[in-house]
Amino acid sequence: MSAESLVAQLKTGLDAPICLTWELTYACNLQCVHCLSSSGQRDERELSTDEAKRVLDQLRDLQVFYINIGGGEPMVRRDFFELVEYSVASGIGVKFSTNGAFIDAEKARRLAAMDYLDIQISLDGVDAATNDAVRGAGSYDMAIRAMDNLAAANFGPFKISVVVTRHNVGQLDGFKALADRYGAQLRITRLRPSGRGVDSWDDLHPTNAQQREIYDWLMAHGEHVLTGDSFFHLNALGPSLPGLNMCGAGRVVCLIDPIGDVYACPFVIHDEFRAGNVRDPGGFAKVWKQSDLFASLREPQSAGACASCGAFDACQGGCMAAKFFTGLPLDGPDPECVTGHGETQLATLAATPVAVSLKPRPAMDHTKPPRTPALA
């Protein structure tokens, strides 16, 4: 079977997801300006320990090989280790994303002792100034301390996870050097206008010239850098980057959010992309296999306005979430379309006053209320 026919098969969906993200909580000690889930405060409807274990039982039966745990900050949950241990004991490997705040020396040793566990430390700058502007004051030191603790505990090759922005594109070599210094693996992913990113994307997303830089850098280093296949929209610039050149939403990818809602991907927390809830009869398995939304995403998708563009086969029209939250039609160009079609459409939208209110907002906002400034 050729690579194209494999992708054609994957587009019709798999019996179970390959890449399942599970945000365990909306609670977070940080409040990053691009947080895809608008996290901050816990939601009182979050799954209990027992409910979470029943979900893991189903994932085991579906032979989901591993899950990507995130949040919020997943280590905030008091049952974090209990759930991770239950998952691994069920044959489901765990990769979890963390800002590192809770990885002290003792926790690092506990994590290092576990099998089938991968850790991704989020870091969006090679220096505190660049990182903290996005992730909050003190978050750079927090991440470095966690990495030092993991290294001291001989955890092995953890991952450093970077969201590429206008302000850190120039630091890609620096990130690679930092990862190499720790014996870590670098993971870089695309910024989406999701969650609080709806409001920060305009200021943070890479310029068109920087997209070329990212593409060239990945062509040179892609073999040793993880990307979650998130940059496939850049394939219109030349030969394809390593990885599956397709949108996996609802086909090979999905998200379970902290309250058990199942979305097509981690970047579309919005009613329009909610397929069901793990608390529904039949649980996650039924949502994955039978939801109308996922069935429709597994149908052949229309190229729409992109049908006449010679680059469509290469870029596949880009990212559904990026289009949706910038107010662009799903069957048209990505807002970061490398040929500039998306920018033109965004400019047209911006010039149409009514369109501003039509831009979708995320389904929920768990951002913490602003603190009253302390009196001097």
Binding site: M1, Q9, F65, D118
Partner: protein
């Protein structure tokens, strides 16, 4: 079996599925996940899955192909496919060959 086919180095070798690899059946064949190196590999034909599952019961890769009723004309392409599975450590050369059927 013909000497011409045995000439592919892998055909005469005893192979096993790596003990840390799990196979999940899918319409196109199967997904293979390696819990050790965390790699996900696609077995792009149901026959590859049958052969992969049979490896451990046979003294050679060729024996597993024959037992899985794979036409000899297809053996060279299976040898190439399984060489790539070997490269990603999904299948490994058996350390101490055990006697299976012929």
């Amino acid at each position: 079996m013909s000497t011409e086919l045995i000439a592919h180095p892998l055909l005469g070798v005893a192979l096993d599925l790596h003990p840390q690899v799990a196979l999940r059946p899918e319409p196109f064949g199967a997904l293979a996940y390696h819990y050790g190196n965390r790699r996900l590999v696609f077995l792009k034909h149901p026959d590859m899955v049958t052969v992969a599952r049979a490896l451990g019961q046979h003294p050679t890769f060729a024996g597993a192909l024959r037992a899985s009723h794979i036409d000899e004309a297809r053996w060279p392409s299976f040898a190439i496919a399984f060489a790539s599975l070997q490269a990603s450590d999904v299948v490994v050369v058996r350390v101490s060959p055990e006697a299976g059927d012929a």
